[in-house]
């Protein structure tokens, strides 16, 4: 086994093209666990990405209202200003990840590379409609994050492709992330949800974690609630909120495993959806 330590994205892409079976290593907080558990044995080449400065930067384009985050940006960085203001839900999600040590090492690109339905960054990327810039020796392509995530720990990345950047819209409107675990920190989500409100477009989106093979979107619930919101007052009738909860729960596709039950997960995403909506909007009178 050899470890390559490229310093530019071009170099990394070239190395990867030459050996598409190589293992990419960012913060290593997923990869090393898999190796230690014997689930993965890097045979040939490991490409360490943490010296690739292109991957470790982010930029804000005020005109286009986008935030572009390199795949190698860590959670600790995502929690800080100005990212915390530009993408508050991403900062919320980052704060829930692991412990300070994990947040200092773990990256957003690694979260997507692993593509666990419990990845805390992923519901946020989905709710924001993030675009992923993917590079390979063949060039560059963009894909929506929902298209990158295809199954439990499965992405649509082809051999030799790596995630370079993730592009997010900077929106006006409330956004937040909430995650249920059986411990008050350092815990894998057994259910999570991200709500993003776009007051300009008068739209909202909600994405759920740990209740399906990949992140689950709830288009019906999104339409229903957006239609029920009084956008001037940013309030929502309380019975519309109840309906929203029902639609979110029924959009989820949870399983029962050693961490929790399908029933609890379905229930929990509904409660999270309600509470996020309650933080975003004031709950008004019932519609009569």
């Amino acid at each position: 086994m050899t470890v390559a330590v490229p310093t530019t994205l071009d170099e990394a892409v070239r190395l990867f093209a030459a050996e598409p079976s190589a293992m990419l290593l960012a913060g290593g907080t997923d990869a090393m666990v898999e190796i230690n558990d014997g689930h993965r044995r890097p045979g040939g080449l490991v490409i360490a990405l943490n010296r690739v400065s292109d991957l470790r930067t982010w930029r804000h384009d005020a005109e286009r209202r986008t935030l572009t985050i390199g795949a190698g940006v860590t959670y600790s960085e995502l929690m800080q200003e100005p990212i915390a203001t530009l993408a508050p839900a991403l900062a919320d999600a980052s704060r829930t990840v692991g412990s300070p040590q994990i947040r200092n090492a773990g990256t957003l690109g690694g979260n997507l590379g692993t593509c666990s339905p419990a990845g805390d960054g992923l519901p946020v990327l989905s709710a924001l409609g993030a675009q992923v810039r993917i590079v390979s020796a063949a060039g560059e392509r963009a894909a929506s994050v929902d298209d990158v995530m295809v199954g439990v720990k499965r992405t649509s990345l082809k051999p030799g492709e790596m995630i370079a950047e993730i592009v997010l819209p900077v929106l006006d409107g409330w956004q937040g992330y909430a995650k249920v675990g059986v411990r008050n920190a350092m815990v894998i989500a057994i259910a999570s949800a991200c709500l993003v409100v776009d007051t300009d477009a008068r739209q909202l989106s909600i994405a759920l974690g740990s209740v399906g093979p990949t992140i689950v979107r709830c288009p019906e619930a999104e339409r229903q609630l957006a239609a029920a919101v009084d956008w001037a007052a940013l309030s929502v009738p309380s019975d519309a909120l109840d309906e929203f909860v029902g639609l979110v729960s029924s959009a989820s596709r949870p399983i029962t495993d050693h961490r929790s039950t399908a029933d609890y997960r379905r229930h929990a995403v509904g409660v999270l959806a309600k509470r996020l909506a309650r933080r975003a909007f004031t709950a008004g009178e019932r519609r009569s």
Partner: protein
Amino acid sequence: MSVVEDTQTLRAGTIGDSPARPDGISKVQGGYAFSSDLSADGCLFGATLRSPYPYARIVSIDQSAAWKISGVEAVITADDVPGQLTYGLISQDQPVFASDVVRYVGEPVAAVAALDPETARRALDAIVVEYDERSPLLDPETAIAEGHELIHPDGNLIRHQRIVHGNPDASGAVVVEGTYEIGMQDQAFLGLEAAIAYPDPGADGVELHLATQWLHEDQGQIAACLGVSDDKVRLVLGGVGGAFGAREDISLQVHTCLLALRLGRPVRMAYSRAESFLGHVHRHPATIWMRHHADAAGTLVNVEARFVFDGGAYASTSSAVLVNGITMAQGPYACPNGQVDGYAVRTNHLPCGAMRGFGAVQACFAYESQMDKLADACGLEPQEIRVRNAMRTGDTLLTGQPVMNVAPVEECIRETAALPLPDEPVGGAPLGDGSPNVMKLPGGAGRTADTRDIVRGIGWGVSIKNLMYSETFDDYSTARCRLTDGVVTLKFATAEVGQGFITIAGQIARTVLGVDEVVLDQIDTGVGSAGSTSASRQTWMSGGAVDAACRAARERLFEAVGRSYGIEPVRFMIDGTDVIDTAGDLRIPVSEASAGLEIEETVEYHHPETEDLDELGQGNCHTAFAFVAHRAVVDVDPELGLVKVIQIATAQDVGNALNPLSVVGQIEGGIAQGLGLAVMEEIIQIDGVIRNGNFTDYLLPTFLDMPPVLTTLIEQPDPHAPLGAKGVGEPPCISSTPAVVAAIRDALRQAGIEKPLNRVPVRPADICL
């Protein structure tokens, strides 16, 4: 005649002071060598092949491919065990290696030694074992009901014991009943199992450096399996990173020695976390039915109970855990009548044995849940019903055994109640912008709740724990004290597993002998047994032995001084660091008095004999008892089922706090473990296969889950204890669990929700669905 001034000031490092522990700074700085840090030049690395099936017949084991791997030095199976093929703490029913049948997932089948760990791992992969899978026995009730195939020659029932006391048909105006379940908890010590074995030249003996709780018990079991006499196996304690019962049974000891003796080279074995979950025994899961009868005022009349402990595949200490559980059925309460039926059974689950609290934990969750039901039925507050029934010295257990120790149960409850409730509101003091501090809400970093979603509840738990071993077991301790030139050297085989015995041993010597300098010799089998570091017994037993050895040395010192000055030795005493004549003016420093002397005394300390239980469970089977009360304040999110423990208040019967800081350390640590069992810690097995044998999914409380603990030490020196000091290790984890659960029930009730919560750990779905 001189008057002895009682200055009331505590000399540094003596009993009652809290000197820094000798291992403290190096542990905090990361320099301390745990057993897993041991290594030796040229040592080989051992690894263990384990069964993937809960129950299967071994058809064949083909080692040939493993031997072909370069760097593989040895592959051993049951055929290579020269001595006894099985071991065990109470009955020797567990094979060193499974040969015909595997009985749990993780059971050792073979071991290898190789030049490096990676080669050892590949060698394991190369061993081909053909299994014939059988359908596992997983339901304890099936094990009790006769008729199922015996999964072990010793039978499916490990022990059945009844207790019948007084009039078992007695009843009262109030009857409450419930069935309670306790999940399988892991000790989860942080220092993983590790050992290194050095073969003697000629390979007829071995020296094993390891982390264990009881060097001499290991020595005997290892020697028997190696087929050598005990003196051919010398054990040295390596750095132990916690134990909690999980190091009482043999894990890698015999395997490591076998490999080292076979190869004539040092061999090191070290478990990973995943392997550790398979390699040691766990807390017994239990199902407990109880029916309490009381009069209208809430005074207990009768306790009926049925206990079923799932012992897993091998007996370990199940029969003793069972007796602890059933003999504590009434809790720390006086009760004249009772009838208890208890079973410890064998299944194809992971083997269970000792864990902090040892049977008393399971019983306590049941009887304390019952006491709350009784309080409700009688219209009493939780602490009122407990004070009303509180056990006192002289009261008897359902075994007929009178409790002759100090029994300040009522004081524990009253002093706990006197501790202030938290003054912070739900969500803590608001942040600068007025928002609540999410880290103080249930759900914590997950930001699941707003203050309005939360209700706060209060719950109680009170418990009794027996100290030392029971049922005729003579778990004595040995200590040697050497005094020369004012320096004391202590030698004992007491396993220091983090509890701090090495600190108090020095304190005892300084107090008894008036020295400042105490040297601790290596902890090994070069001196008599100290018994196990378990059952809250080492302060009492090894403390008693050190105390007695130091007193014996002091007698010799007084004799020597007496000879020099022509004074009767009985007139001497130690005052501070001086020997003084209580009937004259002589005062000389101990350092001077002991100059040139070579005093050495070795003493065994035994506790009074105990009895076996008879057919009806009657007999003075226990040695001594300690008590504690806990009050938990818990914030609950009823809709999501998440909780945050806000505060635990406790008053504990400690007898005499030899080292108050150590006592508080035990109390806080034990409460963390009790909290873990209450709300998150459980080994999940599905069809006999462990599903969460790692710290990703076996959740332990973190710093954020652990509340502030308010502690009052109830110091009533116990006249039966050598230093007046009771063991303090186990009680904190026993009743903190039911206290937390009771607080959750109380919070839910305030939200208008009645939930039985008759199972621990309480899962979110148990609260909200």
